[in-house]
């Protein structure tokens, strides 16, 4: 591991102040489970590391308008078990607990999870060609071992998945990110935060180099909706998704009033399947409707040599998640 300068920010202003040096070479650290891993592999090379752990961003609180505000330093474990989350957003709790391992979740922060990097093996190998790590060097995954890679939102420059489970649930639930920079605070819709790779896969999100995520605020819960997070993978735990689906369905008299659907493991960013959601609204809460929605959600899928099976697998994840969510809906 290369040497780097280390300092702790005592408050948010200090964390984002321009005194912290050249932004491109500075990096925040929260739980460190992404950062330290990649520094050890020489993939991330910060010159300066700023520790966020003293910032007062560990609260989970219900706002007057009914939304839930989550501090960026709340750990994945604490968030998963927080009563307000298990009660009002069980989908998020399920997704968090489906991620990583207990040890990692104890360390991982909410902000760090949003910012985590892809698990693409070529990204993690400094000797491989990777446009995300070394812009313009090419993409070894396109014709390589790409079983884990994405079907949706890909480009000829990058097909890496966004690996987060938490973000898939947040995308489905609807959320807003609060960003703090030297020029003040701004908000951005969760779905607009992560970028598609297009021709610049190294630009992964809308955060400016000197900005900090301070909070994630979840939209008010969908009334009467049932939800389910289903993660499909080779082993039962501690593995990134081959395909996952976050589904929320509100059923009234056998008819779907509102549906939310987001996908993980198959897309380059946390993937909200908006057209599938629209197709579900007003339809009977039956398997045929769910199958149709799955078809719509995956109609733009671009499979590669080793990941073609993810198309039917994602379809299965969607259908089963929607079935379970609708069975859990209050008025079905």
């Amino acid at each position: 591991m290369r040497n780097f300068a280390f300092s702790s920010a005592e408050n948010v202003d200090q964390a984002v102040s321009s005194e912290r040096g050249n932004a491109g070479e500075a990096s925040y650290i929260a739980g460190g489970t992404t950062l330290i891993d990649l520094v050890k592999l020489d993939v991330m090379r910060p010159v300066q590391v700023i520790d966020l752990n003293r910032l007062p961003l560990r609260e989970v609180e219900r706002l007057d308008d009914g939304r839930l505000r989550i501090g960026a330093l709340v750990s994945n474990t604490d968030l998963a078990h927080h009563p307000l989350v298990t009660q009002h957003y069980p989908l998020l709790s399920q997704a968090l607990l489906a991620g990583a391992s207990t040890q990692l979740r104890n360390m991982a922060s909410t902000g760090g999870n949003v910012m985590q990097r892809t698990r693409c093996p070529y990204f993690r190998d400094v000797a491989a060609a990777c446009n995300k790590r070394a812009p313009g060097s090419g993409c070894d995954a396109l014709e390589g071992v790409n079983r884990m890679h994405a079907l949706l939102g890909t480009s000829e420059h990058c097909i890496a998945t966004h690996p987060s489970d938490m973000c898939v649930a947040m995308t489905a639930l609807g959320a807003t990110l609060t960003l703090e920079g030297p020029n003040g605070t701004r908000e951005i819709a969760f779905g607009d935060f992560h970028r598609l790779p297009m021709d610049r896969p190294d630009l992964e999100h809308e955060l400016e180099p000197d900005e900090l995520i301070t909070h994630v605020t979840l939209d008010t819960p969908v009334v009467g909706g049932g939800s389910h997070y289903l993660k499909l993978r080779d082993r039962a735990s501690y593995e990134f998704a081959l395909a996952s689906a976050a589904a929320m369905v509100a059923v009234e008299d056998g008819v779907i009033r509102e549906a939310r659907l987001a996908l993980g493991g198959v897309a380059t960013k946390p993937w909200r399947a908006v057209e599938a959601e629209q197709a579900l609204a007003g339809k009977p809460a039956r398997t045929e409707s769910f199958e149709k929605a799955a078809e719509i959600a995956l109609s733009d899928a671009v499979p590669r040599e080793h990941n073609a099976f993810k198309v039917p697998l994602a379809r299965q994840a969607i259908v089963r998640a929607l079935e379970k969510a609708s069975a859990a809906s209050k008025h079905h």
């Binding site: 050890k40 000797a127 082993r235 099976f309 039917p312 697998l313």
Partner: protein, 733 residues
Amino acid sequence: MDTQVIGHRTPRVDGEFKLTGRADYTVDWQAQNMLYGYPVPASIAHGTLEKLHLDTARAMPGVVDIFHHGHFPKLYRSPNSPTHQDQVSEVRLPFEDERIHYDGQYIALVVAESFEQARAAAHAVHADYRRESGAIASLLDTDREGRLLASEGASRGDPEKAFDEAPVKIDHTYHIAAESHMQMEVHATLAEWRDERLIVHESSQGVVYQHKAMARIFGLPDESVEVVSHYIGSGFGNKLFMWPHAVATAGAAQMLGRPVKTILSRQQDMESGGNRPASRQRLRLAADPDGRLVSMRHDSTTETSFVHRYVDSLGSATPSLYACDNVAISQRLLEVHHGTPCPMRAPGETSGIHALETALDELAVELEMDPLELRRRNYADQDPASELPWSSKHLDDCYTSAAKRFGWERRDPAPGAMRDGDEIIGWGMATASWPALRMPCAARVELRDDGSVMAACGTQDIGTGTYTIVAQTVAELSGVPLKDIEVRLGESTLPAGPLSGGSMVTATALPAVAAALRNAFDALKEVATGEGGAFEGSDPESLEIEGGALKDDQGKRVSFGEMLTQQKLGSVNGEGQAAPGDEKGQYSFRSFGAHFVEVRWDPGISRLRVARVVSSIDIGRAINPSAARNQVEGSIVMGIGMALTEKLDYDPRDARLINNNYADYIVPCHADMPEIGVELLDNPDYAFNEFGARGVGEIGLTGIAAAIGNAVYHATGKRIRDLPITLEKVMDT
């Protein structure tokens, strides 16, 4: 044998050391003035190193030196002889020339004042290569056949003719992906030169072998090298023989005149620290209409690297497992451009029995016969390969008992017929087997004036419980309580003991420890009956050992410690030797068992999990039933990984390893653990050794993947002939 300690569930005598951090693993060792080595791996698999750019790295903080081709001591290769116990994992020496034979081959070793500095500088070393095309990533990616090995073939009868004439036959080819050992503790070496003597701490399954190989490589007399390995965070075979990192470390320490410690990263461990080679196996079986095997042919190909000839003997069990007059096995070897393979738990037979037991299941389907019944009809009452009687075989009991506990009679043979909600249930079974091996061994025992006993042997405890069973043996024969027994293992200066491999330590080391202990008793009796002794003038033969004391027929008892103290002696010693004898020509020695497996397949979400494993295994006597059962349970878990998820993924384009860590190489995790019911039959095999033990470390892994694959077939009707059985191979698309 009526026993007090042997055969009882003794807790591990080293458990406290492990829990409290006092167990001294290799990486825990510190030497004064010590430096850290960090290897620089090649990032191509096939070509030549043209230039190393070292200036940046050399100028980095803490860097002391960087070794590479042209800047390293001139060493010799080890003869790599099993007979002379100087086998190594790779005969090629590090930095021998500039050829690159696999991804991860060391091109340099950075030595610095701290581990972090060495690693940072290693990352700053850049290399220019001349790449060559045509790297072979895996035998799974090529149709090359490899060369036939005359040494590995065997045949009896006329299998070809019998096959052609038989009414029922199968002919299928099976592939198994290369696997990683994934032992918890990575390879590590601490090398120190003291007065022309080389002292090495290594996480090693064979201190004697490494010490001899080091002596040959550095051109030293055997006495000038010492290898220490007190605790090992497992090895599963990849620590049997020394790897180049150890030679590089010892060479660096020699040139710098300071101790050097090298700890491999997980990536390096997986790339260049050994693997189970991928294999291709063709099985041709034929039977008469009653299911009696009339022909068995088993033709295998395995991988090795371009720098070492490692042969995983896949067919070695096949001629012995079933009664069949016409049998032929053959083996081919194919060089590929990835790290050198080496033995991995039940090497060879794990892969070979997988193919054979899968093929038998396919034959049972052809015959419309229950797969267990097919095995029973071909039961081998003697070893059909050697035509010798078995020393002790109770496989029929294993079949009966495991089938009963599993509930096999309730199996509906039609694929997919058994359901539970969204899930389809599949039941499969297979036979397990592993040869009983035993080697010559020496040991030393010391009876001390404080009443304690020390037993020493130059073998290792690789986490399996060797410290404990040696202590149990001493306790059993001496009557001294376990707390007063000290066991010393893992030092090449101790009386030479066996490799911790082949499941042979129990049968090899315990008789030697017993012999040494008896010699120590004789020494004590000599003292006792001599001038001034407590039993002066008595016939030594008349004295008995009981409860840590000598006893005569009058009922007089004097404890060992008292006796020595009276005579102002600190201790008496016994050296002992033990080796297999004539029994080798009289019997065939092999362990057997049976696995029954339930899998659950949810076709709606393509989820495949092992739900239940029931195994009955006959290993002779279990010296410590807790440790023995634990070995079989661990093997079963390892077999689940082999069957369903484990695969070293080499990029077919350039033979580089893609999944070189615990997150991307998928071993079973806790949530994957099925209900496991292991039964150990207790049939002591006294023809094999006085303790009746045949060893248990590996047999559990044989057959388990086949039982899982056979259960997958029963659930889905799909025969997946290539491991691992990942979900895309089974799902309906």
